[in-house]
């Protein structure tokens, strides 16, 4: 039986879909079977980041409403044989989502995959609630920035009151990914550091992802950054994926490790 993980954030644009694509591929590269599902009904982004936009024929709503089998709708990634993708519907209103149908869909995905990763829509509306409803775990993606952190706390509050697991008296495990860390700014005290963010939100850390220009290039090409082993963000996602597969990987201090020589000189004088 697979594990269902919802990737959530509250605020949009913090790197939720990028994170979903990278941990999905990262887990697959670790030898586990993984399906990533785009729950952002009405929009489509995950297919682009995975380079699969031209291969989408059927989407999630076809499977739930129109007797299309999951097998027909799933798209296998060429980047890893262990990774599959299920697209969001673009055409239909998100009110089509219905708890019983989603439960059925997720239950059958759980039978076939070790990991079922759901990319939640931004915001805390019904689409979001449906994404977290049947999740075993949640990954919360934040940027080191006040509005992202505040909104994520609201999303966590809803997760803790509306998920099926919580209603059954169990806990939904929560993990934090801090994305787009700018080490220079953290060091100069212009950006919140990870310890402060962890203290404010009080959920365990899954990984810190440094800001990396190579991310744009990766999404331009539809090749997640985790494939780029020389990029700092790619390495960070690789570590996160290994942790999700229960490997013990030490945390790397991305907030200080890439100080250049000039930066060190500057620091002596400030």
């Amino acid at each position: 039986m697979g594990i269902v993980i919802a990737v959530i954030s509250g605020k949009g644009g913090v790197g939720k879909t990028t994170t979903t694509a990278n941990i999905g591929l990262g887990i697959a590269q670790n030898g586990k079977s993984c399906v990533v599902v785009d729950f952002d009904i009405g929009q489509r982004n995950l297919d682009m980041l995975l380079g699969l936009e031209n291969r989408v024929v059927y989407d999630m709503v076809h499977v739930m409403d129109e007797n299309i089998s999951i097998k027909q709708a799933l798209i296998k990634s060429k980047m890893s044989p262990n990774l599959s993708f299920l697209a969001a519907s673009q055409t239909k209103d998100k009110s089509v989502l219905d708890s019983a149908k989603i439960n059925k869909l997720i239950s059958s995905l759980k039978e076939d995959f070790d990991f079922v990763i759901l990319d939640a829509p931004a915001g805390i509306e019904s689409g979001y609630e449906h994404t977290i409803e049947f999740a075993d775990r949640a990954i919360i993606v934040v940027n080191p920035e006040v509005s992202s952190i505040r909104d994520s706390d609201r999303a966590i509050g809803i997760l803790d009151s509306k998920s099926q697991k919580v209603k059954n008296g169990e806990d939904v495990e929560k993990y934090l990914i801090i994305n787009r860390i700018n080490p220079q700014m953290v060091q100069s005290g212009e950006m919140l550091n990870s310890e402060d963010i962890l203290e404010i939100l009080s959920i365990p850390l899954l990984g810190k992802i440094p800001e990396d220009k190579a991310i744009i290039d990766a999404s331009n090409q539809g090749k997640p950054i985790v494939l780029n082993e020389s990029s700092s963000a790619g390495q960070a996602y690789k570590r996160v994926s290994a942790r999700l597969c229960n490997e013990k990987v030490d945390f790397v201090d991305v907030e200080t490790f890439n100080r250049g020589f000039m930066q060190k000189i500057k620091e002596i004088f400030t």
Partner: protein, 76 residues
């Protein structure tokens, strides 16, 4: 090293503001069902006396959690 060159750290300001804002958010959003509860209380009390508004707040007195419910009457 030379503290007189140091800029005021805005990260510290961010942390302080966030801590307060999130604490307030958490108190205001403790129970997702609060609006439904208010509506139902109004329905029940209305059978006996006119109600204007219901205020519900979670309170914590020396470790004892309580819901404080204030019912504002409609004086006519």
């Amino acid at each position: 090293m030379f503290p007189w060159f140091k800029k005021k750290s805005s990260a510290k300001t961010a942390k302080d503001r966030l801590t307060i804002a999130i604490m307030a958010d958490r108190t205001n959003n403790t129970f997702p069902f609060i609006e439904d509860l208010k509506a139902e209380i109004i329905e029940v009390v209305k059978k006996y006396i006119d109600v204007k508004k219901v205020h519900i707040q979670k309170e914590n007195h020396e470790g004892i959690e309580a819901l404080s419910i204030d019912i504002e009457l409609d004086k006519k």
